[in-house]
């Protein structure tokens, strides 16, 4: 009998980026890179586990913006264009590295990976990545949980109850129509919890959510089992807290696995390294160098000098890291079990894109970990949070603390000098949305279309991603543009509606561009 339980949760999310008005748009590449480097490798992992009959229980959140993009025909076409380009480049790389044995093998590896990705995407799943994950849920390997409609950071977006209700009910409805069942759990965006949000979760039948460590540790009354068991909010919705130790092993820039010197270096990409004329067809059409995904070097050390990547060595390291992670969880479980008198639950959430995109060997790590846990030990078992609640339905009642898993643990990332200006406008729009939804009940025709699009624009403005980008300073102009664009679109609809001067042409234009949630229910915002 096992002594401990481990719940690995992968949070897969990208903001809604879709620009039909341009034939190429740089920020759309986030999606294409994630598909190639994270989602498809995870699909391969699940397929392998199924084929080899390896018992597995993992949890994944697929956020509504991501789901919308993965199912959008335009973006699917563009992904195929992207992967075809990569395959072509990989082919040329095989030729180019003919006299460089230290790189040639890696070039062959990329060609294999990219052609395999295209085959999986197009031939085997018919472009339906979401359908693939649904299949893994239906066959019992995976538990998929939902998120906020556009990943709005609820503690800051909650100017009205309607705003929070809109985010949650909209995602649940999309989840039900896509996965043909009700979601049992939710990934609160950025694990952003505030006292009272669980009421909305309860109303839609959600049984649990996740918080950062201190969300549980600072709960009141004090949780008896620390972070190693969930607590029930007074509403009955369970809260699971992140385990710091297992997080640190993977996340830590100083000590974590991904920094190992044998692993692939993210920055030495051929998009930047190779001769301009050669690489020109594979970077942006404007000729700006960007990451392509083909990289030949390993981290090597805390130095600028990089040695060639040797896949064999990297995989050896991956296996040993998986063994190490498992060993640590075994020791952790044994220690806690003796102390607690109940099987401890270790909750290890990560951004899905860490596995594959940032940490290239990540999916292999997960693959090795699942297999080793199944066959090389009996101390710790993989479960999902819902499995735990079925095993231990009685838990302590306590109110979690307001918290997030962002830098410093609260709201600073989304409320700081760089982005606090957003909220006056966002909140005003929130109030106006309720005003419109309450005044215009049961509409049809052009007015209904306008109200639905207003809801969409508000949702898109609420994405926590824009504030996040502004705070971290990576692609600020784009984030500012998106925030303003959606708020201005919303405001224009509001004012046009008031003056009875809706512009059908303009409305049609933004409907076709910002086309998330076709069946959005604006009446969620009425109060």
């Amino acid at each position: 009998m096992e002594k401990g339980l481990l719940s690995i949760v992968l949070h897969a999310h990208l903001p809604f980026v879709r620009h039909p008005e341009h034939s190429y748009f740089l920020e759309e590449n986030w999606l294409y890179e994630a598909i190639t480097e994270t989602y498809i490798p995870l699909i391969h992992m699940f397929e392998g586990l199924e084929r080899d009959r390896v018992p597995v229980r993992l949890t994944m959140s697929l956020t509504p913006p991501l789901i919308s993009m993965l199912r959008d025909p335009l973006l699917q076409d563009r992904y195929l264009r992207h992967i075809h380009q990569l395959i072509e480049l990989a082919g040329r790389e095989i030729d180019r590295t003919r006299f460089q044995p230290e790189f040639h093998e890696t070039a062959l590896h990329y060609y294999w990976e990219f052609t395999r990705a295209r085959d999986t995407y197009l031939n085997r799943y018919n472009r339906d990545i979401v359908g693939a994950f649904k299949r893994f849920q239906d066959n019992g390997q995976l538990e998929i949980i939902t998120c906020g409609a556009t990943h709005g950071f609820l503690p800051l977006v909650n100017r009205t109850e309607a705003a929070v209700r809109g985010q949650i009910v909209t995602s649940v409805r999309q989840y039900e129509s896509v996965f043909e069942r009700k979601p049992l759990g939710i990934w609160l965006p950025e694990c952003g919890y505030y006292g009272g949000v669980d009421k909305f979760l309860k109303n839609v039948g959600i049984r649990y959510f996740l918080t950062d460590t201190h969300g549980i540790l600072h709960a009141s009354p004090r949780p008896k089992f620390g972070v190693f068991a969930p607590i029930y909010c007074p509403t009955g919705v369970a809260a699971f807290g992140r385990d710091m130790e297992s997080s640190k092993q993977v996340w830590s820039a100083l000590e974590g696995y991904p920094g190992d010197f044998d692993y692939r270096d993210f920055y030495r990409d051929v998009g930047f390294d190779l001769d301009y004329e050669y690489i020109r067809p594979y970077i942006t059409p404007d000729g700006i160098r960007v990451n392509t995904g083909i990289k030949y070097y390993r981290i090597t050390g805390r130095t600028d000098h990089k040695e060639p990547y040797v896949r064999r060595h990297a995989l050896e390291k991956t296996a040993s890291h998986a063994a190490n992670f498992m060993f640590n969880r075994e020791k952790q479980s044994e220690h806690l079990y003796d102390f607690m008198g109940r099987k401890p639950l270790i909750v290890s959430p990560y951004d899905a894109e860490l596995y594959g995109h940032w940490w290239y060997e990540g999916p292999e790590f997960l693959n090795f970990l699942v297999r080793k846990m199944a066959f090389d030990q009996k101390t710790v078992r993989l479960v999902t949070p819902m499995d735990y609640l079925r095993m231990y339905p009685i838990n302590q009642v306590s109110t979690p603390s307001m918290s997030s898993w962002g830098y410093k643990g609260y709201a600073e990332t989304w409320l700081s000098g760089a982005n606090d200006w957003i909220y006056l406008h966002l909140h005003k729009a929130t109030l106006r949305m309720t005003e419109m939804a309450t005044r215009y009940r049961g509409q049809d025709g052009l007015v209904e279309r306008a109200l639905k699009q207003a809801a969409r624009e508000l949702f898109l403005a609420q994405s926590s991603d824009w504030a996040f980008i502004m705070h971290t300073g990576t692609m600020v102009p784009y984030a500012v543009k998106r925030t303003k664009e959606h708020l201005l679109n919303f405001t224009r609809i509001y004012e046009d509606l008031k003056k009875h001067q809706l512009d059908a042409n303009w409305l049609g234009e933004i409907e076709s561009r910002n086309n998330i949630f076709p069946e959005v229910d604006y009446q969620l915002f009425s109060e």
């Binding site: 006299f99 898993w405 543009k481």
Partner: protein, 359 residues
């Protein structure tokens, strides 16, 4: 071994542009607690004009790229139909409004120690309230009156003087307390009139709760807390030091953000040390030729794909070495074979750097 590849530090114009667009995770600069608190200053309402300029440039660049594509497409059309008559087209404004004409104040929680408040007060309303209070502008100050209502029986308040034209403020407060705020005018003589009153909020705790539930006792809480990693948020200074370091480098606590919008310092990126003058150089070889389009060509035994017109080119990285590049072309009818064999040698000398004496 010497690499072909360009170093990051000396960026060409292309690289600089690329950097601006690259999905580069940014490391959080190390800050002391004082700096962190000081940086939470009241901010301007609207983003700076510099940002706007960059947006315009980014948007313009994209538009130029798009319109160039369109030009290519339209050049192929023989005849374009005349455009349909357009309805009156109204431009969506480019900038968010400065104000919505409201008189209100709103309070938000940022963390256990900080609140953020924004407000809008219209000029005429302001003036009416001043008249109501009695007095003139140089006898009053605009203040935020912060009410601590944690204890229902003992409400306290303090005033924060607002200087200049501000529309928001960060307030330093206590954890696990409840507050609301009024923005108002405080007369020299102590009289106060409120212009607007905010919502009420409660800050989260900064540590463990004092409340212990009788039903769930019987375990060593402190040990449980420590095992959960809780004490890393508190006590031991040496450990705290290390933890803070790791936190500040965006290491452990920041779970969020390894999605492609990562702020996390990637495991890889270590700040480069100062380097002096550098120079790298490498060689590639291009082999090109032509034959009948239906011929078959091999180079060193490997088949080469011909273009439809029978030409071909191949490009290789060429490290030091001796290369015999035998190329065979076979006619489509299988009767004739021709061979051309360039032989290439590369040898690289790297003498020591020459330093001119400085006087």
């Amino acid at each position: 071994m010497a690499a072909l590849f360009r170093r990051k530090k000396k960026d060409s114009e292309d690289d600089k542009k690329a950097k601006a667009k690259k999905l580069e995770p940014v490391k959080e600069p190390v800050k002391s607690i004082q700096d962190l608190k000081a940086s939470a200053r009241p901010s301007k309402l609207v983003p700076s004009p510099v940002v706007d300029e960059k947006i315009k440039q980014a948007v313009v660049r994209k538009k130029v790229a798009a319109s160039e594509n369109e030009k290519q497409v339209s050049a192929k059309l023989v005849k374009a139909p005349p455009p349909a008559p357009q309805p009156v087209y109204r431009e969506t404004p480019r900038e968010l409004p400065d104000s919505y004409g409201d008189n209100h104040i709103y309070l938000m929680v940022r963390d256990p120690h900080w609140l953020y408040s924004y407000w809008e007060i219209q000029k005429d309303y302001h003036e009416a309230k001043l008249r109501e209070l009695g007095g003139n502008w140089n006898e009053v100050n605009a203040v935020l009156r912060v009410y601590d209502v944690s204890d229902e029986n003992h409400k306290t308040f303090y005033d924060v003087y607002l200087h200049g034209i501000v529309k928001n403020w960060y307030l330093n407060v206590e954890p696990n307390h409840s507050y609301y705020v009024e923005i108002g005018l405080l007369h020299r003589d102590g009289r106060f009139i409120a212009l607007a009153c905010s919502n009420r909020i409660t800050t989260p705790r900064a540590g463990m709760s004092e409340v212990i539930d009788e039903h769930w006792m019987g375990i060593d809480f402190d040990k449980m807390y420590a095992l959960s990693g809780g004490f890393q948020v508190g006590k031991s200074s040496a450990e705290l030091q290390k933890m803070m370091e790791e936190r500040l480098m965006g290491a452990i606590s920041s779970g969020s953000g390894a999605g492609l919008l990562s702020s996390m310092a990637s495991p890889v990126k270590i700040p480069g040390k100062k380097r002096g003058f550098w120079f790298i150089l490498d060689c590639e070889l291009i082999v090109y030729g032509a034959t009948e389009p239906d011929a078959r060509v091999t180079l060193q035994g490997r088949e080469i794909k011909l273009r439809p017109d029978g030409t071909f080119s191949l490009r290789f990285a060429l490290p030091d070495g001796h290369y015999v590049l035998d190329a065979h072309a076979y006619s489509a009818d299988g009767i004739e074979e021709r061979i051309i064999t360039p032989v290439v040698d590369r040898r690289t000398e790297r003498p020591a750097p020459i330093l001119k004496p400085t006087d």
